[in-house]
Symmetry: C2
Subunit: 856 residues, 2 copies
């Protein structure tokens, strides 16, 4: 029950219905963000109209039918004042019911105001209130007023009649009665289903409350220069300083924003008339107020104002909506202006949003002609003419034409085509399919699993679900960030890596306490990693080096060799190429650590899958085609993910690792001649038993000894294990003593912990997340419970056996902020992620360090 | 250094060179099993010739060059006695150098003995010694004596000359010198490489020692009835009581065994003359001694004896070698005769060997014409004519001809052919391939992965690696126990489940403290499980129920249905069939628990893989064939093991589980009408998150409620989870509260813990085990470290959250003794294994219980 109060002072003691004064008990979590913001403005002695705040609790009780204590409210206002009511949720992003203006208008006030401001203006005020009340409070259809063409007093008269006709009641004339109805209506709207779903989608808790603020209206219409508008000091797309906003004479609320050309600019502008010219004093006041607000509220604010006969009133301040890139610049500028400390600027930028800045993207305002949505497997957007074969892609590139390679799925034979394309689109596959992995490696926008489209690659026809047909040369756009396939050529927004970005990253690095490396397989990747200031390469996958056509045939000969010495002889031919691969990486990384994962994939990935490919291979090897078919068939696997790959090849076909180790060590000596000494890291994949490590280690140690003896020069190297089976985590205590580092491959570890193939999970993952079976896709966000516990056990046991073992995570999770938090909590030395995720990781890691220092 | 001793009594104090007396310090682990056994015979006051035992330590020092204390040895024997030396390793199975007889023979003794026993006999003794010494001690080639055709004194003369020619030395004449040379030669032979490898293969430790026994020779030649032989009281193949062995007059050592028809039977025998007839008193003595030996040594012994002028001497007793079935009968008879307690009989039968008894097998003595060795995926042996298609198999069965179905791999279309065949042979696949799983389910001998053979199934030709070609109708034998494919029709040994087996199992069950259930999918399986006294069904896989041709087409329609209600309508047609499946199982199991795993495999397994199959399906569904192709293609998976199966289907295509639950509950009520009330157990496969369990549970609970309401009768059921992902083990604490039981599916759990597909691991598993990378194949023996720890965590956490949750293991490991030990240690309630493994599991579990009661 509301207490009945006597006077203003007593009201201050009622925390649920309180006049906003500098000392009133108002907080965002009791009265909402708007109420709290208004109190701040009041404390800054800004010209804010008198305002009463209703708490969440008070509003909740109104929704449940309680009559608010009208006297307590109305005694705060002049009896002639018009009022408005606006929502005040805890977080302004959560929304709320629309504002209702001009409460208190009635026939008598209409007559009075007609005298002071003219009949036209008074009618406009009354009309606005009647229509708003009819729709929001009496719940009439807005089209009740559609037929009313007249404005002014005639429009008002017709509207009042329409109201009476629909409701069978006269329009309420009592201000108190009006206010109660508005408050109740707004309170109840908050509990509507769609409002609830909407705000919960934005992260609001189920029991989020609504506060309301009741403010005295400054009409914005009347004698002298009157009007309303909004102002902000930045461009919301770029974040650059620029006074933006609109002002409309003789208007209320946010009318100026919808007024088109009749609205004024604020600052002098060649495009039209401005407030600065019309009312220079008011403009100067307003600018000063805005600057004060930015400084004291430590944020870029949108100022909602009214000018009344040349005098400025500040109705409200709202945090400026902003694009990702604007958010970054705003934070950096606030820190550069010493309004906030750099740490806070770091905290204010969402690492997830940072991703947008690092890739070319479809312009946010461009029209998207979406043909289908597949799996966005490699971010960024590119436009090009579609081609259906690798050869066409190469021809297209030779002509200097951007092309998109369209395949049902890709295989090693397509890699040269992918190099030539600006984007890739496949019908099949998931996040770790061939196309996806190579696409990310090349930084090529890539969509896989676009299974709703029909791929008739032999006929060179691609059909959209809506029936549209695309042929060779037709232009599409691939948005690898969203997974959307777009027809035509929408406007693009280029990637930005400007000074502002570098400044923010510098501040972030100063705070960060876990290292960030990049996964980089190629010189281009390595260069990107350097550009993004990765602290080394955490995962260099070597298998992609064998997909080059010249090397592929050698690999195939190796697979067909019958003996160990035969395999070694064939691999000898790859040695100089591999050595140069590694030497290039070492040169680019200039002495930073480079962790090279030894050969990992099943050998059958290197064999041709098509009949014609098998025929060609048979010719090249001078074998009957039936032999080749048989071999391909015999090597196929039911579950390649769990098959003959990784260290299992290292143990059973050791010649490959021998060759790779030699290439690494020879490149090490070569690169160390001309620059910083290189200490390569050699990583053994897919380990499940310590004996695997012992066997491989002893061979690699002897290769190292042989190279050192041959070249007459000693060198260091670090041998480690990629921990990606649950068993390797559990047995880390016996594995760690043989290793310098343990790097957790969380992609495969997640697959095995869940028994879930990433390539195949796409079909039901979205249903699973929607039904809450998994709270998140565990391939995007590291599962803290299952996979996380294995990481914990692996880290603890590894360290117990070898306290100075280096611990890290490599794989896609390395770039995910939530996942980095888990690694940091476990005391990992570094995380490694794809080059384009490095800035995200650097920022996220910095935020974690800052939060934990704040005890957050 | 050996101490010099004065007299017999003093020698007794030298534990390294000791006369075997009842009180001598002789033990198997210092002097070897033979020395110890001889001491037991001495204690039984058997007529054992005087014997001196040399300890491991003494023999080791002799091997290293030390001269043995000859006086201490020789003073134990009459100066005229001939001696023999025999090996005495700790375990007689570990072998040792051959015995050397007649040490002490020389020219002078030859003359003496010629007087007493005749020149012929004396020459035979000397000749034997000379040749044996030449070969074993002087290391001459045995062929040195090949040209000597004469025997008697002429043969002796020529042999001595041959010895001198080869060695340039006269044959040594001094008994002591002879003895030292023999001892040194035998001591050193023990350290030879091949001897070491041989015994280590039999489980001997690297430092296993050799003892030697020096025994006075009772010649076996001479006046009156003289000769040697061996006797045992059982048939070594069957274990049935029967006096077997051979005796040869005027012979030594084990000559009787190689003498063919000239050797006598022991007991009266229609086939020829017997010792019983020739020397009834000696035979009676011998029989009495053998019976005494059996009773007091508590074992069936082979008695090695010599008859000297009608008197029996016992030279040695050796544990009778025996077949698996003989081992069982011998143990049971010893217990029935109250020589050993039943518990000990249980302990004496090797559970692994028991497997042999339960399947028809190739006769151990049959000649095996091995064409190739594949993966023995389902045990037992069958002979039949080969056919290459399921239709031929059915035709063959209709003619009453046993046939073997030969396929490159099998698919659901082949199941009817498998039903008609007596065995299955495939080129591809591993232990969990379709053919293997169905084969085990049908109890059909099955070999998969026979990749060295060439399968030209279209041409209906099967070629062996040696080039032999087999066509339709040719006869092969499949030995699914060893994996051998045999040409022709070797002799077979039928399975035995006689009284003796039942007796042993009864004793085992009395000791056992963990329950044993069977995995049974069909009524035939269930009946086998009952016959083997399984305590219920621990795993009923339901997917095989859908491979029947009549049901397969319904499944396919279901897969092609577009809507939930469409799927439900199609499944409705399967309901009565499924209900009858379960009703049958419940009837057979008569109220015992039946744990039914809900549908598990990926749906694409039910789609046709061949072009013609797809055409047929298109016709049946009245769809364009391209639609069918597209759908088959779209549903294919990269890693089906980790794909859309198990509970993932239950969550996303819930109509299948709904139908199955209804079938189970309706069958429950039906079966409970006529017999013991049935409490079905419903098991959810492939769980990785608790929410999966919640979702499925709530649907199944409502089906149960609906069935109870419709039929107006309440019933109980238990819902549980198959724990087969590492994550389910780790999160058991949150999963257990929703379940009545957790059953660990260790097949899949092993695959995921190692990241190793059982189907694909075959290619390198043997290399891995050989190199010691894995100590055992983890699919045969549960990995105690990795998978074992997950079981432990799962069990602990499950029990912590729900103390009365039932814990079990189902899967192949359930029948493996080492794996049962792990489950028992973790306090599991039961293990479940394939029906034919149930006796093995019962026995192994009983042994574990007995051992742990003995503190073992």
């Amino acid at each position: 029950m509301l207490r009945r109060n006597q006077k203003g002072a007593a009201v201050q003691n009622n925390p649920h219905t309180t006049l906003i004064t500098p000392d009133a008990p108002v907080a965002a979590n009791t009265h909402g963000g708007r109420a709290k913001c208004l109190q701040r403005l009041v404390r800054l002695e800004m010209p804010v109209p008198r305002t009463v705040a209703l708490s969440f609790d008070a509003v909740h009780r109104i929704a449940e039918g309680e009559i608010p204590d009208l006297t307590a409210i109305l005694e705060q206002f002049d009896s002639a004042a018009l009022l408005c009511v606006r929502p005040s949720s805890e977080d302004p992003d959560w929304g709320g019911p629309g504002a209702v203006l001009n409460i208190g208008m009635n026939d008598a006030r209409y007559v009075d105001l007609s005298d002071t401001m003219g009949a036209e203006a008074a009618a406009a005020l009354y009309l606005r209130f009647v229509q708003s009340y009819a729709v929001h409070v009496a719940r009439l259809d807005a089209d009740v007023f559609d037929d009313i063409e007249a404005d002014g007093s005639e429009g008002l008269r017709q509207s009042l009649r329409a109201y009476e006709d629909e409701t069978d009641e006269a329009f309420p004339q009592d201000r108190g009665e009006q206010l109660i109805a508005v408050l109740r209506s707004m309170a109840r709207a908050w509990d509507g289903t769609s409002a609830r779903l909407l705000r919960q989608a934005k992260g609001a808790p189920a029991d989020a409350g609504l506060g309301l603020v009741i403010q005295e209206m400054i009409p914005g219409v009347g004698q002298g220069e009157c009007g309303s508008g909004v102002l902000q000091l930045v461009d919301i797309t770029t974040g650059m300083p620029q006074i933006t906003g609109r002002y409309l004479s003789q208007s209320q609320g946010r009318d100026a924003l919808g007024a088109g050309v009749s609205a004024l600019f604020l600052e002098k502008d060649p495009r039209g008339l401005s407030l600065e010219e019309v009312a220079p004093k008011a403009f100067a006041d307003l600018k000063a107020q805005a600057a004060l607000m930015r400084e004291k509220l430590r944020e870029e604010m949108q100022v909602e104002f009214v000018i009344e006969n040349g005098h400025v009133h500040i109705l409200d301040g709202v945090r400026v909506q902003r694009s990702a890139r604007a958010a970054m610049r705003i934070a950096v500028r606030l820190a550069e202006d010493e309004i906030i400390p750099p740490q806070e600027a770091v905290m204010r930028v969402d690492p997830h949003a940072l991703n947008e800045l690092l890739h070319r993207q479809v312009h946010p305002e461009a029209r998207r002609d979406v043909l289908t949505t597949g799996i966005g497997a490699s971010p960024g957007a590119s436009t090009g003419r579609i081609v259906f074969t690798a050869a066409e892609a190469q021809a297209s590139a030779a002509r200097g034409e951007a092309c998109i390679l369209v395949r049902r799925e890709t295989s090693p034979e397509d890699v040269r085509g992918m190099h030539a394309a600006v984007a890739v689109l496949t019908e099949k596959g998931g996040m770790t399919s061939h196309a996806a992995v190579i696409g990310r490696g090349l930084g090529l926008p890539c969509i896989v699993g676009a299974s709703e489209m029909r791929f008739q690659t032999k006929k060179k026809i691609l059909s959209a679900p809506d029936g549209r047909v695309f042929k060779t040369g037709d232009i599409l756009t691939i948005d690898g960030s969203s997974g959307q396939v777009l027809a035509g050529q929408p406007a693009m927004l280029e990637a930005t890596l400007d000074d502002c970005f570098q400044t923010l990253m510098g501040w972030a690095d100063a705070e960060r306490d876990i290292e960030i490396r990049a996964n980089a397989d190629t010189p281009a990747d390595a260069q990107t990693a350097r550009n993004f200031q990765a602290q080394g390469i955490g995962l260099c996958r070597t298998e992609h080096m064998f997909f080059d056509p010249g090397r592929l045939i050698v690999m195939r000969e190796m697979i067909f060799a019958q003996t160990s010495s035969g395999r070694a002889a064939v691999l000898e031919r790859l040695l100089p190429m591999q050595r140069e691969d590694f030497a290039q990486l070492f040169r680019i990384m200039e002495g930073q650590p480079v962790c090279i994962r030894l050969f990992d994939p099943p050998l059958h990935e290197f064999l041709p899958t098509t009949r014609s490919g098998q025929r060609e291979l048979a010719e090249a090897l001078d074998l009957p085609v039936s032999d080749v078919e048989r071999r391909v068939d015999a090597m196929s696997e039911y579950n390649p993910m769990l098959g003959m790959r990784g260290v299992r090849l290292g143990v059973t076909v050791p010649e490959i690792y021998d060759m790779q180790a030699r290439a690494i060590f020879e490149a090490t000596l070569e690169a160390s001649k001309n620059g910083a000494p290189v200490v390569p890291e050699v990583m053994i994949p897919l380990v499940s038993a310590k004996r695997e490590v012992e066997l491989v280690k002893s061979r690699i140690d002897s290769v190292a000894a042989a190279v050192a003896a041959e070249q007459g020069q000693e060198f260091e190297y670090r041998l480690g294990v990629m921990v990606e089976t649950p068993r390797a985590c559990l047995r880390a205590e016996e594995i760690a003593p043989h290793t310098a580092f343990l790097s957790f491959g969380t992609n495969d570890l997640t697959q095995m912990t869940y028994g879930l193939s990433r390539d195949d999970a796409g079909r039901f993952m979205s249903a699973y997340v929607r039904q809450g079976v998994f709270t998140e896709d565990p391939f995007h966000v590291l599962d803290p419970d299952g996979v996380g516990e294995l990481l914990k056990l692996g880290a603890e046991r590894g360290r117990a056996a070898q306290p100075d073992v280096t611990l890290s995570v490599c794989g896609e999770h390395g770039g995910n902020p939530e996942s980095i938090a888990i690694c940091r909590d476990l005391g990992f030395d570094y995380v490694s992620c794809s080059p384009f995720r490095v800035p995200v990781a650097r920022l996220a890691a910095a935020q974690l360090a800052i939060s934990s220092r704040l005890g957050g």
